[in-house]
């Protein structure tokens, strides 16, 4: 993955830039020694690393504003960072960039149950937002699997999803307002505690803009009352086709499960060997979870199991207790760890129309043979968001490149059947060069023009999302 050649002028001016930034920040908010900045050389896409020029860790919106104003004046690129859990390289630095980390800004600013929102600083972790309101019976719905560590700032940057979005939507559907700092240091307030903002939907375009339009320092988030309970049913099938049809039939029947998770045979086997969840050895496994009171759960599960029975499942296991629910989820929740036990893996994130599931799984199986790399599939079937895990050996020369080529082919396949490159992880650097497979030049140009408005000098996270060639003229200007 190419990155732009760092600006030699900026590298030469490092001491001066550091001194200027120190003049607007508390003493402990700056990291600039080579040994120390190394901790920020990558995010969760660890295959790519580059230490930044320096790292700033502001504690207030005013400090963020002062840093950005200075960086704009000095022409220094800024790479915003939440918790650094991006699988797409969204927070990967360049040698001439300042990492702006919001991790110290993690306070709850306001909790309002009557109006059902919470206002937090953006460095707060996803799970701790729910943690702040769950004793009072509320939760924050988007639940990316990194929720213990990932920051709301990153969730907004990537428009993160999770397992429960079929019912509750993703970050953009649960975000009411932001305080955001533009590259020139201007602080803007967009949206608020009311449900819709006036004028153009700027909040909608900021969410998912991968830190390229501004740095979000505070967020107003919708919180929801916790359901009375939830229970899953596990359904095993001998064919991916039939499992796919079952998913469609459940959706058509009028039940809206909170989650429909799908695992294929390679993933089931790896998981079973690792976690011993008692999964059947079958071609495809569904975990369907519904919410409500005990009686409501029974009513919904009876609809779902009746549909499943029509498709002749090899296994049908309805949870009747918390212990049984935990056991059903155990395998799914350890799937990534189980695959990681076998080898290094690359996790993809394409989305496909649910109806294309059997064809896409068959094609991935064929490509797996062609490339000679194993792949397991675990994904959110209700919304078509796939997570193929390609196994490779990072110590074997050429394996990473082979894995990346295989991954790119799978993502092109997702686009070809009417889907997209990324459902919840974001483009980052990882899928940057594949954007031309999904979008025509005119489509990409429209997006670049949006960045021109927010960040005319292209200093904010500039080497991400779009193919470098398409942004070269703007970055150089």
């Amino acid at each position: 993955m190419d990155m732009p050649i760092p600006d030699a002028g900026i590298l030469a001016r490092k001491a001066g830039i550091v001194a200027l930034l120190q003049s607007v920040l508390p003493a402990d908010a700056m990291i600039h020694e080579d040994r120390q900045v190394k901790a920020y050389e990558c995010d969760a896409l660890t295959a790519y690393r580059c230490p930044p020029l320096c790292v700033v860790l502001p504690s207030t919106t005013e400090e963020v504003s002062a840093v950005m104003k200075l960086c704009q004046e000095q022409g220094v690129p800024v790479v915003p960072r939440g918790s650094g859990t991006s699988l797409a390289g969204g927070a990967l630095p360049t040698a001439d960039s300042v990492i702006l980390g919001v991790a110290r800004m993690n306070d709850v600013l306001e909790t309002d149950y009557g109006n059902r929102f919470i206002r937090v600083q953006s460095g707060r972790t996803n799970l701790s937002v729910t943690g702040a309101v769950e004793d009072d019976g509320f939760f924050y719905a988007p639940d990316p699997s990194s929720q213990l560590a990932c920051a709301i700032a990153g969730n907004i940057g990537m428009n993160s999803g999770g397992a429960h979005c079929l019912k509750y939507g993703v970050t953009t559907n649960n975000l009411l307002g932001v305080t955001m700092v533009l590259m020139d240091g201007t602080v803007v307030e967009i949206g608020g505690a009311h449900l819709d903002a006036p004028g153009l939907d700027l909040l909608g375009v900021i969410c998912g803009s991968e830190g390229q339009l501004g740095v979000v320092t505070e967020a107003t988030l919708r919180i929801l009352p916790k359901p009375e309970g939830a229970r899953p049913v596990l359904i095993g099938f001998d064919s991916n086709e039939v499992a796919g049809m079952c998913v469609s039939d459940i959706i058509k029947a009028g039940v809206l499960p909170v989650a429909i998770e799908f695992m294929d045979r390679p993933c089931i086997r790896a998981t079973e060997a690792f976690a011993h969840a008692g999964y059947p050895d079958c071609e495809a496994l569904l975990i369907v979870e519904v919410e409500g009171s005990e009686a409501e759960i029974d009513e919904q599960l009876s609809v779902i199991t009746a549909i499943a029975r029509r498709h002749d499942p090899v296994e049908l296991r309805e949870s009747k207790s918390e212990e049984e629910s935990a056991k059903i989820w155990l395998g799914r929740k350890s799937a990534f760890g189980a695959m990681g036990q076998i080898n290094d893996y690359m996790c993809l994130d394409g989305t496909i129309p649910v109806t294309e599931l059997p064809y896409v799984l068959r094609r991935i199986g064929e490509m797996s043979k062609e490339y000679g790399l194993d792949v397991g599939n675990v994904f959110h079937a209700g919304d078509g968001n796939m997570h193929p895990l390609i196994l490779f050996d990072a110590n074997k020369p050429g394996d990473l490149e082979k894995c990346e080529a295989f991954g790119a082919d799978i993502l092109r396949l997702c686009v070809e059947v009417g889907g997209c490159l990324t459902g919840e992880h974001g483009v980052g650097i990882e899928k940057r060069d594949l954007m031309v497979d999904q979008y025509d030049p005119v489509d990409l140009e429209a997006q670049l023009r949006v960045k021109d408005v927010f960040d005319p000098r292209w200093l904010l996270n500039p080497a991400k999302v779009f193919p470098l060639a398409s942004t070269e003229r703007r970055r150089a200007a």
């Binding site: 979005c165 006036p198 375009v205 409500g292 483009v427 023009r449």
Partner: protein
């Protein structure tokens, strides 16, 4: 009126235009006042291009009548989740609402509190920008973070960034049963408190409205046993607000009237749509003394019928939120502004975006002023 038959013809019209283009779907949100320029209609761009009930996905050309989309969905027992309103009775207009017009106005009804607004169900757009270029964003899958989300930017942009040609939605199954819990005789403050309590419960209220002097109405939708259970629990939960009644007949018509602001039909008042956080509804109501009010979205959306020419926006002084003028004379629209004024930095960003998408300023110029 120009009526392009496809996206290519529309692109050519926009490219060759030498003055303003006034874009119309079905024209149900009122005729554009006579101004210089050319009317451009989308009635040549019609038809559902893809509908996969098993994937909860529908794609239609922008000029497709809303009724056609709703009928196709109903045949598969599905619906648009956000319950778009019909403006005709309120505005005294005729014409046929189009799906593109719904998107351009981000038109969202009572279920918005539970299922989100139009923009939340919208998963893809195609549009022709002010340069005449046909641009796509998003697609036909419900989880998609590939590049910037121009889908949401276009929703509610009232044709000022581009002319929509095709829109894609995530749809939902129709719930088989519905009921309404009715709480009579509450003051505005009590009504908002009761709606907040209901919306803070796990009983999945899909509509929460109140007409001052009338009832609080709380809608429950789902399978039969579940609806009975949740309605019963709500009645218990809200016992402190007085005796409640559970209504099962006429529920659909009741919410259609709430969503369409039926009470304001033909009243001769100006009508405003005010968005605040629900708890601020009491203060806004007090300041609008004498106005005819309807609270929806648990109190977060206030419809206000006021004396012609009255500036209801003034009631928001010191309160976060915004007010849109929905029905008034052209003179009042011009004098008070249809949309709420934006803070300078946001107005600058909006102007910057319009300049990028429509550099000659020919698409519905000033429509969002």
């Amino acid at each position: 009126m120009l009526l392009p038959k496809d996206e290519a013809e529309l692109g050519a019209i926009v490219r060759e235009a030498d003055g303003p283009l006034w874009i119309e779907g079905g024209g149900t949100r009122g005729p554009v006042a006579a101004r210089d320029g050319v009317r451009l209609g989308t009635s040549g761009l019609t038809g559902i291009t893809l509908y996969e009930p098993g994937a909860l996905t529908l794609v239609a050309r922008a000029g497709t009548p809303l009724a056609e989309v709703e009928a196709a969905l109903a045949a598969e027992n599905q619906r648009l989740p956000f319950e778009p309103m019909d403006h005709r009775a309120l505005l005294g207009t005729d014409g046929v609402p189009t799906i593109g017009g719904v998107v351009a106005g981000n038109v969202s009804g009572p279920r918005r509190i539970q299922a989100g607004a139009c923009r939340d169900s919208l998963i893809g757009v195609r549009f022709v920008d002010g340069r005449g270029d046909a641009i796509k964003n998003g697609g036909r899958v419900m989880k998609n973070v590939t590049g910037y989300d121009l889908v949401k930017l276009l929703a509610g942009s009232h044709g000022t960034l581009g002319v929509l040609t095709e829109v894609s939605f995530k749809v939902l199954p129709v719930t088989p049963e519905q009921a309404v819990v009715i709480l009579p005789g509450l003051s505005v403050g009590q009504a908002i408190a009761a709606m907040a309590a209901a919306l803070s419960s796990p009983f999945e209220v899909s509509g929460a409205a109140h007409r001052p002097g009338g009832d609080v109405m709380l809608r429950i939708e789902g399978f039969a046993a579940s609806v009975s259970y949740r309605a019963g629990r709500l009645v218990k939960l809200l016992a402190g607000f007085g005796p409640a009644e559970i209504l099962r007949e006429g529920v659909a018509a009741m919410w259609r009237d709430i969503g369409n602001g039926a009470q304001f039909s033909g009243t001769g008042q100006d009508v405003w749509r005010i968005s605040v956080k629900p708890a601020d509804g009491t203060a806004v109501a007090a300041r609008l003394e004498g106005a005819d009010l309807l609270f929806d979205w648990g109190g977060g959306l206030i419809w206000a019928g006021v004396a012609p020419g009255q500036d209801a926006r003034a009631a928001l002084d010191g309160i976060a939120g915004h007010a849109t003028l929905v029905r008034a004379t052209p003179e009042t629209h011009a004098r008070l502004g249809t949309f709420h004024p934006e803070p300078a930095p946001l107005a600058a960003i909006a102007a910057g975006l319009r300049a990028q998408f429509d550099p000659r300023g020919i698409l519905n110029p000033g429509r969002m002023a």
